[in-house]
C-alpha cells in the first residue's frame, strides 16, 4: 500500500466525518439515523479495504471479515423485530432507590 493511498484514505475519512457530523444537525427525522449509519459503513469499508488490506487479501480472509458483521446483522434484525412489534407499553416499576 502506497503512502499516497493512505493519505487519500485519511482525507476521505476526515471529509466523511465532517459530513456525518454536519448532517446530524439537519432535521431529517429518522432519516438522520440512516444517513449517519450509511456514512459509518462507508468509513468502516475504507478502513477495512485499505488500512486492513482486505482489497488485496484472499477471498477466505474477506469471508472471515464479513462473517462477524453478518451474524451481528442477524442478531440485531431478529431482536429489533420483536421490539418493533411489541403492543404493550413500557412502565417503570416502583423506584427501588
Amino acid at each position: 500500500m502506497s503512502a499516497g493511498t493512505i493519505c487519500r484514505c485519511w482525507l476521505a475519512l476526515l471529509i466523511l466525518l465532517a459530513l456525518t457530523t454536519g448532517s446530524a444537525f439537519i432535521p431529517l427525522g429518522t432519516a438522520n439515523l440512516f444517513v449517519s449509519l450509511g456514512i459509518a459503513v462507508t468509513k468502516a469499508l475504507i478502513v477495512l479495504l485499505f488500512f486492513m488490506e482486505l482489497k488485496t487479501s484472499s477471498a477466505l480472509v474477506r469471508v472471515f471479515a464479513a462473517a462477524g458483521f453478518f451474524w451481528l446483522m442477524i442478531m440485531i434484525a431478529l431482536t429489533t423485530a420483536d421490539y418493533t412489534h411489541r403492543t404493550d407499553q413500557r412502565v417503570p416499576l416502583d423506584q427501588v432507590r
Binding site: L17, A24, F51, V61, W71, M75, I76, R86
Partner: protein, 210 residues
C-alpha cells in the same frame, strides 16, 4: 510469534503467514460480536424507549466526540504507514509512525477522560452521582450504555497502545524483523478504530436534528 523460525506445525513461511492472519481475523470476528451485542442492546432500547432515549444522547459532548473521532482516524492512518514502511524494510520510519500512533491513541484517551470528567460534574455518571430527578431513568440507561461502550472501547485502545509501544521498541532495537507481527497489531488497531466509527453516530449524533 517467531518471525524467521518456522513453527514445526507449518511447512512453509507462506502457510504460517496466512494462518496467523486468518487467526487474527477470526479473533476480530469474535470482537465484532462482543461489541455488537452492546449495539444490539442499544438499538433495542432505542426502539423501546423512543424519543426519551434519543433525547438523552443530546447530553453528550458532540464537539469533543468529533475531535476524538478525527484523532482516532488519523492514528489509524499512522498505523497503516507504520505497517507499510516496516514491510518496505525501513527501521526508523515505522518507529516514528508507531510513536505517532501511540501518542494519538493517548490523546484520544485524554480527551475521552475529559469528557467523562465533564459528565461527572453534570451528575451524569450512573451508580456514582447520577441525578435521577433531573435527567430521568431512561437517560440513566442511556448513560449506562454510554459508559459501558466507551469504557470497553478505551480498554481496548489502552491494550492497543501497549502493543504499539512494545512494537516500536522491538523494531527500534532491531529484535523484530519485518513479518506478520506488525500487520497483526495493525489489524487490531484498525478494528478498534472501526468500533469507534460505529459508536460515534450512535452516541453523539442521535437527536441532534431537533
Amino acid at each position: 510469534m517467531a518471525e524467521e523460525t518456522l513453527g514445526f506445525q507449518y511447512s512453509t513461511l507462506q502457510q504460517e503467514r496466512e494462518t496467523v492472519t486468518l487467526g487474527m481475523w477470526a479473533f476480530l470476528a469474535t470482537e465484532v460480536l462482543f461489541f455488537g451485542a452492546l449495539i444490539a442492546a442499544y438499538f433495542s432500547y432505542r426502539i423501546w424507549f423512543g424519543a426519551e432515549f434519543i433525547a438523552a444522547a443530546k447530553m453528550t459532548k458532540v464537539a469533543l466526540g468529533t475531535a476524538n473521532t478525527a484523532v482516532l482516524l488519523t492514528s489509524s492512518a499512522c498505523m497503516a504507514m507504520a505497517v507499510t514502511t516496516h514491510e518496505a524494510g525501513s527501521r526508523r520510519a515505522p518507529v516514528l509512525w508507531l510513536t505517532a500512533t501511540a501518542l494519538l491513541g493517548l490523546s484520544f484517551v485524554v480527551i475521552k477522560g475529559t469528557e467523562w470528567f465533564l459528565e461527572y460534574q453534570e451528575h451524569l455518571v450512573p451508580a456514582l452521582n447520577f441525578d435521577l430527578a433531573r435527567h430521568g431513568g431512561v437517560a440513566e440507561i442511556f448513560f449506562i450504555f454510554y459508559f459501558c461502550a466507551t469504557g470497553l472501547h478505551a480498554l481496548h485502545l489502552l491494550i492497543g497502545i501497549c502493543l504499539v509501544c512494545w512494537l516500536a521498541f522491538a523494531i527500534g532495537t532491531g529484535r523484530l524483523k519485518p513479518g506478520s507481527t506488525t500487520r497483526l497489531i495493525g489489524l487490531y488497531w484498525h478494528f478498534v478504530d472501526i468500533v469507534w466509527i460505529f459508536l460515534f453516530p450512535l452516541i453523539y449524533l442521535a437527536g441532534r436534528n431537533g
